[in-house]
């Protein structure tokens, strides 16, 4: 039997939390005691409870959110931090999450999305060579393509593009598009 996915939810609305729980098969997803707000000792709780997925309403974060999200992620590096969204949230905040779960998402898709977000963790292979697909994504990024454009061009989901991007960054140590463009030029992948 597959190990169950441990889920931690931080969401003020009882209805939303209970609704989410009802959509998911309890044989696969185990819900830890929910949070209505973010406690000060959140990172400690996460390291103690070891959730696989942390579903978080981004409005609970402080402004600016980056430092707080970093400390949450550091508490458990392999945990998928998923944004639970039902109002406008600034894209710069959302892009710091691995997955965005919109409440308008089809009920039947929720489990799959959460499953994917767990698996989309950096691939296990230890190699630092870029795969063929990663190289393709890198070249398109270096040419200034957005994740959406790259997804359309390669016929894959935006989510998959972002996973490739994370793997490229892990393997090269380079985070910014400008830096990746330099990498591509120095490796003769694009004409400089």
């Amino acid at each position: 039997m597959k190990p169950k996915v441990q889920v931690l939810v931080a969401e003020p609305s009882d209805m939303i939390r209970e609704g989410l729980k009802a959509l998911l098969d309890e044989d696969e997803f185990v819900f830890q005691a929910p949070l209505r707000e973010l406690p000060v000792d959140l990172p400690q709780r996460i390291s103690r409870q070891q959730p696989d997925v942390f579903i978080l309403n981004p409005t609970l974060l402080n402004t600016p959110s980056r430092m707080q999200l970093v400390s949450i992620q550091q508490a458990r590096v392999n945990m998928a931090v998923v944004a639970l969204v039902y109002q406008y949230i600034d894209p710069s905040v959302l892009q710091q999450f691995r997955t965005v779960l919109d409440v308008r998402e089809k009920g039947s898709k929720v489990a799959q999305l959460l499953r994917e977000s767990c698996q989309a963790e950096v691939d296990d292979d230890e190699s630092y060579e870029l795969s063929e697909r990663e190289t393709e994504v890198l070249v398109l990024l270096a040419k200034g393509g957005s994740s959406k454009e790259i997804a359309d061009k390669l016929n894959i989901s935006v989510h998959t593009v972002n996973t490739h991007r994370k793997n490229i960054t892990r393997k090269t140590g380079i985070k910014s598009v400008a830096g990746l463009a330099v990498y591509a030029m120095l490796h003769n992948l694009v004409v400089g």
């Binding site: 600016p64 905040v93 140590g173 985070k175 910014s176 030029m185 120095l186």
Partner: protein, 232 residues
């Protein structure tokens, strides 16, 4: 918990010995070296600086987990905050970036045409981005803060540089160091390359703390003033 953070009665020389990068922050306060045996408190009095504010900056620079609470913010005299931040900007723009540029041009000149061109253009773009970021803060955020401090009824300016935009500036410097020591064949100019990488890392560490100051002090302080304005 707070015991281990810096306090006013400590000798300035001991504080600097505990974290030597604070030496870089001194000119931004207008403090010169030559502390003798004087305490932080005494030095601050000598320069007419509020000691709580100076300690706040020192503590943020030194202790990664240091986070001023509401009381700290309430108590502190923030009159030197904007001058401090502006002095930091000047230091980055007028001293550190030109310093890095000199080293980089050297390396670019030795590394061959193709590498040189790529490095120079990356750095130029980076510098433009930093200048734009700082200018936007100085044009919009700092004047807004000063007007709030005077108790004026002003609305927060809509600015993409208002809060969360430092990560990119720090990430790009990290990328540049990665590129320099991983992909530039530097057998013939290893020493210059090392100098350059260290200069960039030092700026990167400083900018990271600068970002923390803006995110953990400047923004909460602005938000506190805004609450005061809204209650008025």
């Amino acid at each position: 918990m707070k015991k281990r953070y810096f306090v006013g009665r400590m000798k300035m020389a001991d504080v600097v010995a505990a974290n030597h990068t604070l030496i870089l922050a001194m000119p931004r306060f207008g403090i010169s070296l030559g502390f003798g045996e004087r305490s932080v408190q005494e030095i601050c009095e000598q320069y007419g600086l509020p000691v709580d504010f100076v300690l706040l900056i020192f503590n943020v620079y030194t202790f990664d987990d240091y986070l001023p609470d509401g009381d700290d913010l309430e108590r502190t005299d923030f009159s030197p905050l904007v001058p401090y931040l502006e002095a930091s900007h000047r230091y980055y723009l007028q001293e550190r970036l030109p310093h890095i540029e000199r080293h980089l041009l050297h390396v670019a000149g030795s590394a061959g045409e193709r590498y040189g061109r790529v490095l120079k253009s990356f750095f130029e773009d980076y510098r433009k981005e930093v200048v734009e970021h700082f200018e936007s803060e100085e044009r919009e955020v700092f004047p807004y803060l000063q007007r709030l401090r005077r108790g004026e009824q002003v609305e927060r300016p809509v600015s993409e540089h208002f809060a969360d935009n430092h990560s990119d500036l720090v990430d790009k410097l990290g990328d540049l160091t990665q590129i320099l020591y991983k992909y530039i064949p530097g057998d013939n100019f290893a020493e210059e390359l090392n100098e350059l990488v260290f200069a960039i890392m030092q700026l990167s560490a400083d900018l990271e703390k600068h970002a923390v100051i803006e995110e953990k002090i400047l923004l909460p302080y602005i938000m506190q003033l805004e609450r005061g304005r809204d209650e008025a």
